[in-house]
């Protein structure tokens, strides 16, 4: 079985890595990572906006943002993919490649989930921060931009990284709409070989495991670093430095 697995990898590693490229669209792990990075990168500014809308004083902003988050949290990702797959070409009037559909879905999905992370980060800051900022004369938007958000986002880096790992796992659903990412590539291999499904899917599982595990180890390291940074140097050291 191990020999079978090794031979599968050695014969198909290119397909698993980059899909049919250059004879077709980018696929495999490369596509998975591109989807995840694009998804989270574009979702991020959206999530900040949604988070701000959810904590805003105006019901006109708060209500739709809250509704959006609850809907996205309550509906399976697969359903959302089907919706986007259906509506996107209708709204744009043209055919949309699966890749773009998947990115769009991830942006919406992660935008909502990430907004909860951002919102938690903002609300976890001591209330005194906003008070101090306003007392100094900053307007609400300026206080948000220069004082609140930078701190909140720094504190939330591990959680954001965690969401990135989730995004990588979510890309697997692209398989259902034939986006040629890693899971799709593995299924292609399996449909060709037919005799070694266990080896193929085990390789698939282990590949994701290695990628996600390394990232979560990095997240834990980051968490520890931020905790010590935030705790500040020992009080004695601070006093001595102050003279």
């Amino acid at each position: 079985m191990l020999q079978g697995a090794i031979s599968i990898v050695s014969e198909n590693w290119l397909l698993l890595l980059v899909g049919q490229y250059p004879n077709g669209p980018l696929g495999g792990i490369a596509a998975t990572l591109m989807l995840s990075v694009l998804g989270i990168a574009l979702a991020f500014p959206l999530s900040v906006l949604i988070a701000l809308a959810r904590i805003s004083r105006w019901p006109l902003l708060r209500a739709p943002a809250t509704a959006l988050v609850y809907v996205v949290r309550g509906v399976p990702l697969l359903m959302i993919i089907f919706w986007v797959y259906f509506l996107f070409p209708l709204l744009l009037g043209a055919n949309v490649p699966g890749f773009a559909t998947m990115v769009c879905t991830l942006v919406i999905y992660e935008g909502a989930f990430l907004s909860e992370v951002v919102r938690a980060g903002i609300q976890a800051l001591p209330a005194g921060q906003m008070d101090a900022a306003r007392a100094l004369g900053h307007s609400y938007p300026r206080a948000m931009r220069y004082i609140i958000l930078p701190q909140a986002l720094y504190n939330m880096l591990p959680a954001i990284l965690s969401q990135f790992i989730s995004t990588i796992k979510e890309t697997t659903l692209g398989y259902v709409i034939n986006v040629p990412e890693l899971t799709f590539a593995a299924n292609q291999i399996n449909n060709r070989l037919l005799t070694k499904p266990f080896e193929v899917f085990l390789i698939l599982a282990l590949t994701y495991y290695v990628v996600c595990y390394s990232l979560s180890a990095a997240t834990t390291w980051l968490e520890r670093r931020i905790a010590t940074r935030r705790a500040g140097p020992a009080p004695l050291a601070v006093m001595e430095a102050a003279g």
Binding site: P76, K169, L173, A205
Partner: protein, 233 residues
């Protein structure tokens, strides 16, 4: 595009039967995997508390695998991969008796067990430190302490996380369509392809999912509030 007409789907006996069957299968998968996940999650926690270091390592490895491998891939590994390891006669039996449902329940259940186990472990960690001492000082055995004092509190502390993960489990039932389970999302696709009324079909399914999720979240919130303990860290 034909005009928007929900009733064309809802009142059509064929379509509504398909959707209804889909909902039933969704519940079968969700409830089955929840029961598996909860019992296994508790077992994993118990294993972790054993003094043997290998038990802790094994459980940690289990949890690490199930949290880092995407759920869809886990389902595929079970349904396409592991099932192929069974003898041919069993595979045939699976094929005729909705084996995909069984694998879906196993795959989803095993995956969520990892999350439930971690939730309970956090819940147990956040029980105030003096509680175990107080129980032991009164003469309770280790098992008695767990049963009457620590685990009841661990469950109450873990409630919000358990509810969240239950909602996730419910939504993950839709992934079972990828291995051929005729749950709601699968039914939606079938009805859509037959009726060509994509928007209406999607809307009905979305509303159904949303209502169930929101009910779960509300029930969970009420349960969390009702059993919350003051003084947990």
């Amino acid at each position: 595009m034909k005009g928007f007409d929900l009733l064309a789907i809802l009142l059509n006996p064929g379509f509504s039967a398909m959707l209804l069957h889909g909902i039933v299968m969704t519940f079968v998968v969700a409830i089955g995997s929840w029961l598996l996940a909860m019992s296994l999650g508790i077992l994993l926690l118990a294993l972790r508390l054993l003094p043997a270091r290998i038990a802790e390592a094994a459980v940690a490895a289990y949890i690490s695998y199930h949290r880092n491998v995407p759920t869809l891939v886990q389902l595929m590994l079970w349904y396409f991969g592991i099932s192929s390891l069974f003898p041919a006669a069993m595979q045939e039996w699976f094929g005729e008796h909705n084996g995909e449902v069984l694998f879906a329940i196993i795959g989803l259940g095993l995956c969520q067990a990892a999350y439930f186990s971690e939730d309970l472990r956090s819940g147990l960690r956040s029980v105030a430190p003096g509680q175990e001492e107080a129980a032991r000082a009164l003469g309770h055995s280790y098992l008695g302490t767990m049963r009457f004092v620590l685990m009841p509190q661990a469950f109450r502390n873990a409630m919000p996380a358990l509810v969240n993960h239950t909602v996730s489990l419910f939504k993950n039932s839709s992934l079972a369509m990828a291995i051929g389970v005729a749950e709601l999302t699968h039914a939606v696709k079938e009805v859509e392809s037959e009726s060509f009324r994509t928007f209406e079909t999607y809307l009905i399914a979305t509303v159904l999912y949303l209502v169930c999720s929101l009910l779960l979240m509300a029930a969970g919130a009420a349960l969390s509030r009702g059993t919350a303990l003051a003084g947990a860290r």
